[in-house]
Amino acid sequence: MMFLKIMPVLLSVMIMVSIVLYFVSEKNLMKYLGNDAGLGAYIFAAAIGAIAIIPSFISYPLAGVLVKAGVSYGVISVFINTLKMVGILTIPIEAKFLGYKISILRNILALIGALVVGGLMAFIYSIT
């Protein structure tokens, strides 16, 4: 039943994402996330992940598309981890439970953590 309840939302989100993906050209995304972008790709992936609110059933397919298009696994891990751990737009929600000081501190530390993980991932992929 829960599955049927969520279907309308799910379908409309899938439709909108399909349309947005058509306009966000792969070439543009690759310019900022591709291997040529170097360190900037990590910063850009972290920025998207920190700001965006994307549910898993959309973020993983999107990450899969990006990998096939040539984005490195290190950059993808930064994207996935920041998406999960860092939420700039949701800091006000978080602050209601933890207070602003701790919320901001947690987000900053998580952002740094995600970049560290991304760097280590890139290193391991480069030697294997």
Partner: protein, 176 residues
Amino acid sequence: MKKNKKIKFDFFVIFAFMAFALYSYISGYAPGMEIIKDNFWGFFKEMMFILPVMFILVGLFDVWVPKEKVQKYIGKASGIKGIVLVMILGFLQAGPIYAAYPVAYMLWKKGTPPTNIFIYLSSVSIIQVPVIAFEVGFLGFKFFLLRVLISFPVFIILGFILGNYFEKKQFKFMKV
């Protein structure tokens, strides 16, 4: 009222898209065909396969893991056992991290120490059992394994740092 509006909007999008699809198919409108065949149909196929499995898993966890019982085992005196348990509790949960704050508040109220709560919050983001199928399916098992193995120590250390700071400054979790 608000919920009704949202559902109406969803149905509007769906019907408008169906009309658009039909029009594109009949007239051979190329951008339309690309949106439908390359983007939407790809999503649709994968969702129809993965989502039912996910919902069954989420439902089972809901039934199998009663919250009150878990809390009994993760209090101040629980040590390593408590840490392992809060990690597992985090892993089993799906959804974004802000969905975990109400749980965090509840844990705090029932006497869970801040380090355990921040480790729980970190764990929510490292592995989410209900969406493992997604990650492995779209990014491969190697990526999943590496991301988990590397993220794990980094974010658990982060949980310890935040929890200790929280305790030292005598901060409080707040009820919303």
